[in-house]
Amino acid sequence: MVNAEFDGTYAGWRAAARAMLYANVPPDQIAWGAQSDPQPSLLAISTQASLKLPSLADAQSAESEDSIRVSEDRRADPPLSVPKEFLRLAECISCFRDSARWTLLYSVLWRITHGERSLLGIVVDREVHRMYAMESAIRRDEHKMKAFVRFRRVGSDDEADARYVAWFTPAHFILDRVAPFFARRFASMCWSILTPDGSLHWNREELAKGPALKRSDAPAGDELETLWRTYYASVFNPARLKLRAMRSEMPKKYWAGLPEAGLIPSLVADAPRRVREMGVKDETQINVLRPAQ
């Protein structure tokens, strides 16, 4: 058994995997040991340059094939050729919150470089299928973070001095992947997003990464939430209850962070009465459409 120690980042894994491949170590002979899962550094960084993980960008070429670069001391070894799609997937999956990801990645890498070049095209292969499932879990997590982050305003009434702070708990290590979205969208605001994995801070110019923080570090409320809740309650149509559909898109684990979610039980409880008031004569039809609660 070989211990492959690395720093827990994608770049670190890539270097370690390259060394293992050159040493011809098969997947079942390696114990992958990430020293720590990726922690953000305290360093202030600017958005443009540093947010991209240093992997794909430096490896990109016009062709669909890519060589994993040979590190300084291994210049003599022949370059390894791996489909670009593998690198793209691997970079994404490196954010998956499960240490088994490194073993899976190496196993697929091994197969690709040992006779199964087109492996990724066979999405029904057990390992490939697992990789794509992990990728979609990460994309869903990113999407839900973009959707469900709720900023709360602190400080001055003057927009120029206001600061917006949010708390969020991502399922995977996606902070670096979503940061450019928030920097672009909320460019003219000062904002912070605090998570248990690290924090992001934007001062209208630059993005800085900070340490992991606690929920209690974020503000507890915002005056405007009353208006938002009023809006939320008024767009709900009590004649169409579809709780399962709602929960599949907005699972309960997110509710604590959503100021409007506290209204859900009372909106649901009050729906039959409101429908009666609307003058629906044939109420049985409404009941048929209501999923079990």
Partner: protein
């Protein structure tokens, strides 16, 4: 323009920032400037003769709420509509002013959808398209006859004329955009794009006697002639103090769902609208989806060999969505498709099985001819999976 001055972005896919217990996505701040209205459309809660309480926002109020909500990440942008007050032009002017002020004075780059009043002047509609991402004019009902009965002030010819105008301006600005990109390095941040997210419309389902065949026919012509991005079908919901001439029943959600499925079949699966209904049964089958319904009526076209058939045939197999068709086409170049693979791809195997041939499966020739086939593969009772409604409306997988 430096992004750091602006607020907002649109990345092509709208984000649902919340969901209400009716399963619907909350993406835009969807408001009326006012619910005063000089029109008297029977299906509308705000019609002139309704006793509903009236209110009106100022232009500045709408702008402030939009920005306040956007900064807290509650919304993707604004969907602004209005009852008609004073005149069509007067109302349209106010809608345009909201959009223009957001863009020009506040550097707002979030999404703006303006409901467009078909009777407004062309200059105003043109200006609306300069500031809005999307314009929409509601056809409301599929025929002039239905409009005459329920929305006497609305004229189909006026609606179509304004839609045509918008369609023309959209295609002009696309051509200009393409030409200016070639000429020199364009100012990428502000291309002169007219309603870059296109135009859409809405039809109300179940308020009049129109059949699904009529509705789908109208929708198809809107997609083809006015090149609409989307036609939305909206089951008529009972409304407080609704008009006496309307049916006081639960909204026909299932019918709405079937229409969305049919709409997807036409746009993404290569079906023609007229294939989905027949003169004898002009309405879609409520018990089974329109794709399965078509397959059962055309059993001679099956079984289809997943390892050999062209894409157009794969798309017609019940239980097989666009994404899985794409995957199968890619996998089968490297590997013969077997039954296990269908399970891995999570397609609806029970539904697809009688209609497909795989490397290890050939449906019993009598299975396809069996009269009981419909019962065997369709849902057990009328408790249709309404959960699937939204999912399929979003993913289009049937």
């Amino acid at each position: 323009m430096g992004g750091k001055k602006g607020l907002g972005s649109t990345d092509g896919i709208g984000i649902c920032h919340s969901y209400t217990p009716d399963g619907r996505c909350v993406s835009l701040l969807k408001v009326l400037l006012t619910n005063y209205c000089v029109y008297d459309c029977s299906y509308c809660v705000n019609r002139r003769s309704s006793t509903v309480r009236r209110a009106r926002f100022s232009v500045d109020e709408v702008i402030r709420i939009t920005l306040d909500f956007y900064r807290r990440n509650y919304i993707e942008g604004l969907f602004l509509s209005s009852g008609i007050i004073q005149s069509s032009d007067y109302t349209m002017e106010h809608l345009v002013r909201v959009a223009k002020t957001l863009r020009v004075e506040h550097g707002f780059q979030g999404y703006i959808h303006l409901k467009t009043i078909p009777e407004a002047s062309q200059e105003l509609i043109d200006e609306a398209g300069r500031w809005a991402d999307r314009l929409s004019i509601n056809v409301e009902l599929p025929t002039q006859k239905a409009l005459d009965d329920l929305a006497p002030e609305k004229q189909l010819v006026t609606i179509r004329r304004s839609m045509n105008r918008i369609a023309e301006r959209i295609s002009e600005s696309r051509e200009e955009g393409a030409a200016s990109k070639k000429r020199d390095a364009p100012d990428r941040s502000k291309p002169p794009v007219f309603a870059r997210a296109g135009q859409s419309t809405q039809m109300i389902i179940g308020a009049d006697a129109s059949t699904d065949a009529t509705i789908l026919n109208t929708a198809t012509s809107l997609y083809k002639q006015q090149r609409l991005r989307r036609v939305y079908y909206s089951a008529f919901s009972p409304i407080p103090s609704s008009s006496e001439i309307l049916p006081p029943i639960a909204p026909p959600l299932l019918r709405e769902h079937r229409l969305y499925q049919a709409d997807w079949l036409v746009r993404f699966y290569g079906f023609e609208a007229h294939e989905l209904t027949t003169p004898n049964s002009p309405n879609l089958d409520l018990a089974i989806d329109p794709k399965l319904s078509w397959a059962l009526a055309h059993r001679e076209s099956f079984p289809v060999d997943l390892n050999r058939a062209p894409k157009s045939d794969l798309l017609r197999i019940p239980g097989l969505g666009v994404r899985n068709v794409r995957r199968i086409l890619s996998i089968r170049r490297l590997h013969r498709i077997r039954l296990d693979d269908l399970v891995t791809l999570k397609l609806n195997v029970k539904r697809a099985l009688p209609f497909v041939i795989t490397a290890d499966h050939n449906p019993h020739v009598f299975a396809l001819d069996a009269l009981a086939l419909r019962d065997r593969i369709s849902p057990r009772d009328a408790q249709i999976d309404l959960f699937g409604v939204r999912r399929s409306a979003v993913s289009g997988e049937l």
